[in-house]
């Protein structure tokens, strides 16, 4: 069956190789993750000057830290001397400087080369010129976003406009005051699937009634198969008997004060391409970041964010966390079940999207456009 012979109800997916070809994945790394704004770490993880995290963005390792003036800085995690990886730990804290473990080239928190063996005998070596190479940084929603492009695109056009497209306006998001919420729980998932399978799964709810019994119980309209993301600015309503967004529909935590009456008892979901997925419910925000590491493997880091006093007082958030943790496990299991099929001979030309999934086609068009693949 070719795509030209598809009945009107169906449109074609990407071909199977799109999910299995390492060369194509390398192009995605270059033209998507190393070019677009990438949500890297929660700002609160870098609590004080010298605290750092290293994150793989595309094919690059990026070192993110807080300087003495409390500003966030990001650098290529590569020594300017002979290219050794500067920081090998994923997270940590330096007192004053980053030192390459190979020849001890030493950089301060602003990236300047402050010391190296025999450096005073090489007065022609510029300490800024041979300092760490910076990466553009922006803090938004309490997260550090980085951009590896030589000429970074406008954050507002690239990122914030995505929210406007999804929600109608950015105020709806601002009501949740995500900057000031605290991380109540973080769960990291190692998913053996291509990142696009995970995005596509997040975008549709055709699967909800089948694999998400608890979620469908809380949000009965999900049984219809149309995801909250199908409609602009639509929040899925909690079921009548449901008290809160919890695994058993029991009461949630304290409601975020900015959440308006018409947002109350509703669930909103936004995908910010290429790697962020946010769920908004009245008492918490679930913030996913995807880190594609191989064509068939994606790390997903997920934060459950609550009002600071909820976290500080040690209130039990487990029923609240468990709902979406189960949803995530159910979703990622489905993605892992799908990944091997991508290399089946039968799936070489791909599969099909039903009407409630047709908006995934626009995601595919977007991927093709980024990669310069002609539509067809």
């Amino acid at each position: 069956m070719t795509s030209t012979s598809l009945p009107d109800s169906l449109i074609a997916t990407l071909p199977g190789s799109s999910y299995t070809d390492p060369d194509l994945f390398a192009q995605e790394q270059e033209r998507i993750f190393e070019t677009m704004w990438f949500c890297a770490v929660r700002s609160s993880e870098l609590a004080k000057p010298g605290a750092f995290r290293t994150v793989d963005v595309g094919r690059e390792s990026i070192l993110i830290t807080r300087a003495r003036d409390n500003s966030i800085r990001a650098y290529f995690n590569v020594c300017r001397h002979r290219g050794a990886k500067l920081c090998t730990e994923e997270t940590g804290e330096v007192k004053r400087a980053f030192q390459c473990p190979y020849h001890a080239w030493t950089y301060d928190l602003n990236g300047k080369l402050v010391a190296a063996p025999n450096l005073t005998k090489m007065p022609d070596v510029g300490r800024t010129e041979f300092g760490l190479v910076s990466v553009a940084v922006r803090e938004w929603l309490g997260y550090v976003w980085v951009n590896l492009a030589e000429n970074p695109p406008s954050f507002d056009e690239d990122v914030i406009s995505e929210v406007v497209t999804r929600l109608g306006d950015v105020e709806l998001l601002e009501h949740y005051d995500i900057d000031h919420l605290s991380v109540g729980r973080r769960i990291v998932y190692d998913v053996k699937a291509n990142w696009k399978l995970i995005i596509e799964n997040f975008m549709e709810c055709y699967h909800c009634a089948t694999i998400h019994p608890e979620l469908t119980e809380v949000l009965p309209e999900f049984a219809d198969g149309y995801a909250a993301q199908y409609y602009v600015g639509h929040g899925a309503e909690f079921g009548e008997e449901v008290q809160g967004f919890t695994v058993d529909g029991s009461e949630g935590l304290d409601r975020i004060p900015g959440v308006s009456e018409d947002q109350d008892r509703r669930y909103y979901a936004i995908t910010i391409k290429p790697q962020v997925f946010i769920n908004l419910v009245p008492d918490h925000v679930i913030f996913h970041r995807m880190y594609p590491v191989a064509v068939d493997r994606t790390i997903v880091e997920c934060d459950w964010l609550y009002l600071p006093h909820v976290v500080e007082s040690g209130k039990d958030v487990s029923r609240s966390v468990e709902l979406f943790d189960r949803v995530n496990r159910q979703d990622f299991e489905a993605c892992e079940r799908t990944q091997p099929g991508m290399s089946s001979r039968m799936y070489a030309k791909g599969g099909v999207l039903v009407p409630s999934e047709h908006h995934i086609g626009t995601f595919h068009d977007w991927v093709n456009e980024r990669l310069g693949i002609s539509q067809g």
Binding site: R96, A97, Q99, A104, A115, N118, T120
Partner: protein, 119 residues
Amino acid sequence: MIPACLLVDLPRGEAYRLDIDPPVSVFHTDDGEVFAIDDTCTHQDASLADGWLEGCEVECPLHASKFDLRTGAVDAPPAKRPVRTHEVLVQDGMIYVVPSTDAPNLPPCVAARLASGPA
């Protein structure tokens, strides 16, 4: 007596590297005292003026050897030998260094040894 820099140009917590041979660094401590010691760490060629000043002690930026500014003694390895201290005078707001006449403890420098022929 060698003029180094004006005291007002050397804020507390900072160091000035005097480019003589061998170089000397002048430190202005947080308590307002001024000391001068050899700038070069005795372990490997690094400038102590680029190091980290804490109290009356400077930490080498390369391998964290520590030297006492008052005595030149090694407070923390890997350096083994002390640096020299030099007398400091402040006259009319100018810092002067009176270089020590002792032999310096410099780190191994193979190039210099080769240049001067077999020892």
